[in-house]
Amino acid sequence: MKSLEELKKIKDKTKKKTNTEKDTSLTRILVGMSTCGISAGAKPVFDEFNTLIKDKELKDISVTSVGCLGECSIEPMVEVYQNDKRYTYCEVNKEKAQKIFDEHIVNGNVVEDYLIGQYRK
């Protein structure tokens, strides 16, 4: 890295791929995969989302493993970012991941039963 401009280019390029700017058509699925998440079973959930996306040949959607969100007792946690909207699903397992994928990602209906509001005030 030689200059701040060079750094800024990477920032702008990555922001398009990762950020939740309003005009993006990208859907982002984040799976908490620190030691806490993985020990609660996040790995199969992460793999399931990747498999489902591959099977359906969906575009403009990404699955990312991220660090700990802090709510250790309701892991594995999955966050879905769409435009400026953010949804946090808790205690996700493989079956719940399938349901979130089918109903929310594919059909656009949020799965209220698994949302964080059911677990936290």
Binding site: K11, C36, I38
Partner: protein
């Protein structure tokens, strides 16, 4: 149906938190440096190397009021200044990632969720103090943190954010990992240095301080993971803005690992000055199972307990010390009415006597004797004299031990003695009930307790008061849970 919180930022505890050290955790892919850069990563380093002198950097950290998050609370800017002042052709910066308090996982989460924030801060610190080499001392018990740190260092080198002539500034800086075997004492600066040098992890006398004579005899600055995770955020938001958060003498935020008997177990980051009551009841959502709050244990084996009467204490370094506990690295264990404080003390002393490096006598033998005395009390073999001896010995170990481990090891005992002396006295006077007990005039003789007792130690005729044999009772609590009229008293 009531509106359901859709995301993390809509739940009740969210507005109480301020995320600085954890700003990227859970939001970026820690294995992708581009995502860190997209959230302004390495811009602080770039700006500093292009536009600021090392002295500017030290002054800005001093102005921010940042203090060591490992527990001691030493002003970070001053630490950097002291190391910067030393004249030497070689200096080192070390990141202390030897997190060892039982129940604490703040540093692990930062290293696993946002490793670049630590690496960037080490480079900034290196520039400020005049070091070209940094080490992250991390315990081998954190394999995932090690893996992610290794990957992050590799990527930073590929981008030339570590290495020679960073940002064309002429400043060169490298970081390597040094793995510890998981000894608690290696979190102490001088023992940590000994461990990196390949020696046995034992502390030594100070002075000389590491800033004067540290790793291989060269000036060394050691900062904790969370402290470093704050650094680039301070430069990005400005030291003045950072100093607006918190209390007069404790600026910024603190990450806590909430554990024990609390509803929302997890990792939180709150501004200094937040009260314990807010943490326990608003963020933690109170005690699990509706039990009564008894105390919060902070600071792990070096800390003490905070009771109901001090729940409204605003959290900062000084106020926690005043009430006999300490900030510590951030472990916070919530205890409820059923927790036995003497047994809690014994748990911590078991830990410290095991982790004592053995170099100095007060710690090596003192902690062992403290542990044995607690054991004697709990086994109902103690006397009131033992209690006096316990207190005297605890104070002696505190005063005469060589390093922080021994000096703070008696804290759990002294702090619980101060607030829960009656529990110790019940053991010392042998009036402590060890078995459950049925109140004769309340019992309706329903036989439920006798049916569930796993050791068949409850006897009585139907519709007549039952009796528990205290010799046989294993204090499992099964009878207590089934009694329909609350006739059973806990030990």
């Amino acid at each position: 149906m009531a509106k359901v919180a859709k995301s993390l930022n809509e739940i009740k505890s969210f507005p109480k938190q301020t995320r600085i050290a954890l700003r990227n955790c859970g939001l970026i892919d820690p294995s992708n440096i581009d995502e860190y850069i997209a959230r302004d990563g390495y811009f602080a380093l770039g700006d500093i190397l292009k536009n600021k002198s090392p002295k500017d950097v030290v002054n800005e950290i001093k102005e921010s009021g940042l203090r060591g998050r490992g527990g001691g609370g030493f002003p970070t800017g001053l630490k950097w200044e002291l190391t910067a002042k030393e004249k030497s052709d070689r200096k080192y910066i070390i990141c202390n990632a030897d997190e060892g308090d039982p129940g604490a996982f703040m540093d692990r989460s930062i290293l696993e969720g946002d490793p670049h924030s630590v690496l960037e801060a080490m480079a900034i610190a290196g520039y400020a103090i005049g070091a070209n080499q940094g080490y992250v001392y991390v315990r081998i018990e954190y394999p995932r943190a090690i893996k992610r740190l290794k990957a992050a260092i590799k990527q930073a080198r590929e981008y030339e954010l570590l290495g020679e002539n960073i940002f064309g500034s002429g400043f060169s800086f490298n970081i390597d990992l040094r793995l510890g075997a998981g000894a608690f004492v290696c979190g102490e600066e001088t023992a940590l240095i000994a461990s990196i040098e390949g020696e046995r992890g034992m502390s030594r006398n100070k002075p000389p301080y590491p800033a004067q004579k540290g790793l291989w005899g060269y000036p060394t600055c050691i900062n904790n993971v969370e402290t470093l995770a704050n650094v680039s955020a301070i430069f990005n938001m400005g030291a003045k803005e950072f100093a607006k958060i918190g209390t007069e003498n404790s600026k910024g935020t603190k990450v806590f690992a909430l554990a024990g008997n609390i509803n929302n177990i997890g990792l939180i980051e709150v501004p200094m000055g937040t009260t314990l009551r807010e943490i326990v009841y608003d963020i933690g959502d109170g005690i699990d199972g509706g039990k009564a709050f008894k105390a919060v244990q902070t600071g792990g084996p070096s800390g003490g307990v905070i009771t109901e009467e001090h729940l409204d204490t605003p959290i900062d370094y000084e106020s926690l010390k005043e009430i006999g506990s300490m900030m510590g690295s951030g472990g916070m264990i919530i205890l409820d009415e059923d927790d036995d404080m003497v047994k809690i003390s014994k748990f911590y002393l078991d830990f410290t006597q095991d982790e004592s490096c053995g170099k100095c006598t007060p710690c090596r033998i003192g902690t062992k004797r403290l542990y044995e005395t607690l054991e004697k009390l709990i086994d109902m073999n103690g006397t009131p004299e033992d209690l006096e001896m316990l207190e005297y010995l605890a104070k002696s170990v505190q005063k005469t031990s060589l390093c922080g481990l021994g000096q703070s090891a008696p804290n759990p005992v002294l702090s619980t003695l101060k607030y829960f002396r009656d529990e110790y006295e019940a053991y010392a006077n042998r009036t402590k009930r060890t078995a459950y007990f049925i109140e004769e005039d309340v019992c309706i003789g329903c036989t439920k307790c006798a049916q569930v007792c796993p050791v068949d130690c409850i006897e009585g005729e139907v519709k007549k008061p039952h009796v528990i044999d205290p010799e046989e009772c294993i204090a499992c609590g099964a009878c207590y849970d089934v009694c329909p009229v609350d006739a059973i008293l806990k030990p």
